[in-house]
Amino acid sequence: TQLLEQSPQFLSIQEGENLTVYCNSSSVFSSLQWYRQEPGEGPVLLVTVVTGGEVKKLKRLTFQFGDARKDSSLHITAAQPGDTGLYLCAYIPTQGGSEKLVFGKGTKLTVNP
């Protein structure tokens, strides 16, 4: 199973600031998903990236997949308190079929008013 590292583990910023969180591996991903989990709720899928170098935008969130498909980043512009949550990346392991997802441990983001 690929080791999936997310950084930073915790991030606390003020409303209006920009931030970037990262998801890295030493191996190539076939695809990568980003989820956001708000306190007391289940994770919600934000985006799936598939192609190396791909950039996807979701309002103030910009997702990028590395050219070599070993890493991904999530950039938030002008963060708002509603962005507070746990950001998780996940991939399909190459062994054992594509029924499963493996999740990183996440970045816990707090946006203070």
Binding site: S31, G42, P43, T48, V50, K100, F103, K105
Partner: protein
Amino acid sequence: DAGITQSPRHKVTETGTPVTLRCHQTENHRYMYWYRQDPGHGLRLIHYSYGVKDTDKGEVSDGYSVSRSKTEDFLLTLESATSSQTSVYFCAISDRTSYSNEQYFGPGTRLTVT
């Protein structure tokens, strides 16, 4: 939002007692999953199902069993609960129409074993 409910949402039980958690979906998705989420460990797969009566183990299956007698229901059973099974449990579903296996999660069940 995908139609997924979990019951109960909160439960406190004693060590050694059996516990069953229920996941119910209204989306007719083929795949259903049970995860546990713990600080420092993230989301870990317990068991999953790829159809009625078809299940397989995940990363942390010891001490857990599952059953799926209908497409819409996936049950997770702790035969004899232990304190190490105190956790938040999430159910997820997937239709696998996308090869990337995008999953939709329920609201979670917080289980405390005393």
